[in-house]
């Protein structure tokens, strides 16, 4: 990762009255761009201002330019919008976390400034709407760039547009400051709005042009320019999307053509994509009346021979658990996505948490083995869905994918997958069979879907009652023991084929950080920084959580401390959910955890402070969520429209 931007910018600029009057002075011609490798840009405003849209354009542009990119956003907890941020980190090298601090903060309102100035690093640039924001210019830690964004946007678009379009105006400003490829951006804008009225495209392009043409150079000492990433020969193009979209397309690539669900934040967008896309592949996604129905419909589809998926967030998964128990008992392949949010109950619907791990592993009744996987990046959402589908088929089992709010909404660019190599043709095999046992004791179940002739005339039954090899009910204690073992042993078989994850950093040493899910980037960066400060440590990230891959004990032996880093509570006994499992599995007292439940993604320094307490490099003051939060701009008159991007509803 490159060093953060060094914004060598002229000192405090007060808004220029001439600018306000709409007669900007002509631009200085002598500005030379400074090369940078990595920049964190945080847009802070209200969600109805379309900051997500503007941020997403930046992310897509980075993806097209073969740059690494990662975004981070918060969604307001009310449907009419409210304070919200979109953070884009663009880098020429590897970008794994969204960045602890911003190099560049765009504040649309006073509350945006107040809430987020604490995230701007010292020396960072504050670009603010001087029509709405009055920063404390005496605070000399930052560079101030006041531009009457609202006024200029209204002016550029003609009074009718009010101040809609500010987001695109700012995008224009940013592309000038960072010397981004304006033509490419305009193309992206045109594509995005192209489906709508031509006037929408024109308005957006006008706003962009106005921002781009603004002589911001007069306020800066120089522009910035990302170093050109060298495109390796044979490298694939990058595609840019959020985690939920990647998950949905991963399911499709994995051969899933059918499914059912019920809307809930933050899962809904997965089902929206599937509902729209599956018919293109000859499939159907059903919006059911509730989660009980949706899991049951999906199981019916799977039974019919087409591996199907369902999904939800925690509350909906709770409703599905009885049927998941049936799928475990009847050995029915099924993929279940849980896009986790803060819980329990309705909890924090738009925040991130990893507190459904135990629910995924144990949530049902009886001994009901199933598989639990967790993607670690947006790209991994795509690949893990394919793997989940493969495991579900091969082992005739329900498979959970545990994503979360952070992965769901953040946008990353990744190498386009080689579809010809990985896509799975899912057609059911209905070839007649001489004879068929659905539940052979000595083999892993593979069902014969309905429509398959069984020539010896003995047809298989799918049963939630304990059953014999043909699926007929039995009360035999011996058979119950044998069948319970059969269902469990296939998980052991699966564990044998799982790779032991690679350790990043030191292969032996003082501390091994263990994570799962969306915390991959910050944990990785924390280890990197700790090692730069002389720590002997490494990190291991589990994608397969249940069953665990074999051989972890050998890895654990090489470290003095094993610390899981998790976004859940330490529980009554003081260990996070993964740590609890690992302690039970390995009887290893040196396993502990660092957990938190503030509903926000981990920041690198937070992890350092949690894992390396008392060490000087970790003890630096971590800028928390800025100053005390005072929302001054959420009054009704500031809530202009809900039509602009409100990515998800709530509840």
């Amino acid at each position: 990762m490159g060093e953060p931007v060094n914004p060598d910018v002229t000192a405090v600029q007060k808004p220029d009255p001439a600018t306000l009057a709409g007669a900007p002075p002509s631009e200085r011609a002598d500005l030379r761009p400074e090369n940078i490798q990595d920049a964190v840009i945080r847009l802070a405003g209200n969600s109805q201002d379309g900051i997500q849209t503007a941020g997403a354009f930046l992310a897509r542009l980075a993806g097209r330019s073969a740059q690494e990119v990662m975004t981070y956003m918060t969604i307001p907890a009310t449907i009419s919008g409210g304070p919200s941020i979109f953070q884009v980190r663009i880098g020429t090298g590897e970008v794994l976390s969204a960045g602890d601090e911003a190099d560049f903060l765009v504040a649309f309102y006073q509350h945006s400034y107040q809430d987020h100035i604490g995230f701007l690093r010292e020396g960072g640039v504050l670009l603010y709407d001087s029509d709405n924001v009055e920063p404390n210019l005496d605070d000399k830690r930052f560079v101030y760039l006041g531009i009457p964004i609202t006024g200029l946007t209204v002016e550029a678009l003609g009074g009718t547009a009010k101040d809609r379009g500010k987001n695109i105006f700012v995008l224009g400003l940013i592309s000038k400051i960072f010397q981004l490829d304006a033509d490419k951006l305009k193309r992206i804008i045109t594509e995005k709005f192209g489906g709508k009225d031509q006037s929408v495209v024109n308005t957006a392009l006008m706003a962009f042009q106005a921002g781009y043409a603004y002589p911001v150079g007069n306020l800066l000492k120089h522009f910035y320019q990302f170093e050109k990433p060298e495109k390796k020969p044979g490298a694939r193009d990058q595609i840019t999307m959020d985690g939920n979209t990647a998950l949905a397309y991963g399911l499709i690539a994995g051969g899933i053509r059918f499914g059912a669900g019920y809307p809930i934040t933050p899962w809904s967008t997965v089902m929206e994509v599937l509902r729209r896309e599956l018919p293109k592949y000859g499939g159907i996604f059903v919006q059911a009346e509730d989660e009980l129905a949706s899991v049951s419909i999906a199981i019916g589809m799977s039974y019919s021979g087409w591996l199907a998926c369902t999904g939800s967030a925690g509350p909906g998964i709770s409703l599905k658990t009885e049927a998941i128990g049936w799928a475990s008992m009847a050995e029915m392949p099924l993929v279940i996505c849980n896009v986790q949010r803060g819980g329990p109950s309705t909890g924090l619907p738009t925040n991130v948490e990893q507190s459904d791990l135990h629910q995924a592993i144990f949530g049902s009744h009886g001994d009901s083995p199933r598989v639990v996987l967790a993607p670690r990046t947006v790209e991994d959402c795509f690949y893990i869905a394919i793997e989940a589908a493969r495991i579900a088929r091969k082992y005739s089992t329900p498979v959970f994918i545990l994503s979360d709010t952070s992965l769901a909404t953040r946008i990353e660019a990744f190498d386009e997958p080689d579809l010809a190599k990985i896509m799975i043709d899912p057609k059911p095999n209905l070839t007649p069979r001489e004879t068929h046992k659905p539940y052979p004791l000595d083999q892993i179940t593979q069902h014969a879907p309905p429509g398959t002739r069984i020539l010896d005339g003995k047809y298989p039954l799918m049963s939630g009652l304990e059953h014999d090899e043909m699926g007929h009910p039995t009360g035999s204690p011996k058979l119950h023991m044998a069948m319970t073992a059969k269902r469990r042993n296939k998980m052991r078989k699966l564990a044998e084929e799982l790779p032991v994850p690679e350790i990043y950093g030191d292969q032996e040493g003082d501390v091994l950080l263990v994570g799962w899910g969306s915390t991959y980037g910050p944990i990785h960066d924390a280890v990197k920084r700790a090692r730069e400060n002389g720590e002997k440590c490494g990190s291991l990230h589990l994608r397969h959580i249940h069953p665990l891959p074999n051989g972890l004990e050998k890895v654990f032996k090489n470290f003095k401390r094993i610390v899981t880093v998790e976004m859940n509570d330490q529980g009554i006994y003081g260990y996070g959910q993964l740590a609890t499992l690992l302690r039970a599995r390995y009887c290893e007292p040196k396993i502990s955890s660092f957990t938190k439940t503030d509903g926000l993604t981990f920041r690198v320094r937070e992890i350092l402070e949690g894992v390396f307490q008392g060490k000087s490099f970790a003890a630096r003051n971590i800028p928390r969520d800025g100053a005390a939060i005072v929302h001054t701009d959420t009054n009704p008159e500031n809530v202009k429209t809900t039509r602009e991007v409100v990515p998800q509803g709530v509840g």
């Binding site: 009346e289 039974y303 799975i424 309905p450």
Partner: protein, 322 residues
Amino acid sequence: MSEANTNGSPNGGATTTVADPPREKLTKKAITADHPTWCPGCGDFAVLASYYKVLEKRNIDQEKIVTIAGIGCSSRFPYFVNGHGAHFIHGRAVPLASGISLARPDLHVFLFGGDGDGFSIGGNHVDHGGRKNVNLTYFIMDNFVYGLTKKQTSPTSPIGFKSKTDPQGAIDQPVNPMKKLIAGGATFVARTHASQVNHMIQMIERATDHQGFSVIECLSECVEFYPGAFDPANPRKGGSFELIQEKKWDNTPEDELRHDVTDELAAYKLAQLPFPGVFGVFYQSDRPTKNSLEKKWIEQSREKVGNGSDVEVLQRTFDKMK
């Protein structure tokens, strides 16, 4: 690709696959499985016998018959039928069967269950299955009691019925199955009686022929926990089995008085009659099925993507994300 078949058998030989040999006519023997575990005299036996009869008469390809149920005495059904089938969880058989029907429209999906399964725990699914008009046939054995769990009040138990959960007599207003089904949106709604086998067979046949969500409520006596419940509709027990006279559309004055099965309000009126009421088809409509509407959407979507292969379609989508 090794994963090409959803149900390929990468792990071995529980299965041997062969070519499709000629077939014989479907017989009762071929579709009979375990001996039913019901109490002797239970109304559900006659339902099973009628089901066998219809399958035999229609000579449906055995492997295309799918018998589904939730939980209850009546829901034990799939174990007694030798064909593909599933015994699912309490109340959720409608969505399970809907999933099968939607993903595999080539199959004949038959669903069996009780009054508790369909009108209490699964009540919402019955409404939505009807509203969506999923193509399947649903047979409800209504015994006005919970049989499997041994005599608790059911959603159709009449007021005053003494059960283990209402020792003083039931006090909650019972569900009116016909009204519920019609209001929910089912497109074929009929009522029959397990002691009237010919009528029952007729109803199953008509429900099978119907395209859409077809439901039959069958009064099926629980001899163990509610004996004699349906005698008032059993001529052999001194009751009267009154049939709905359907319109013949023959322009006769008598026809004026007959029931138009497409008339929802008239169907409601029939459903309003006091117990034991009337039997036959209350309501039928040819509203398009979800199966056909989804199929249409699939065809349009496929056309829009030029009927491309899966890889082509996804590749083109990704090209737009560059």
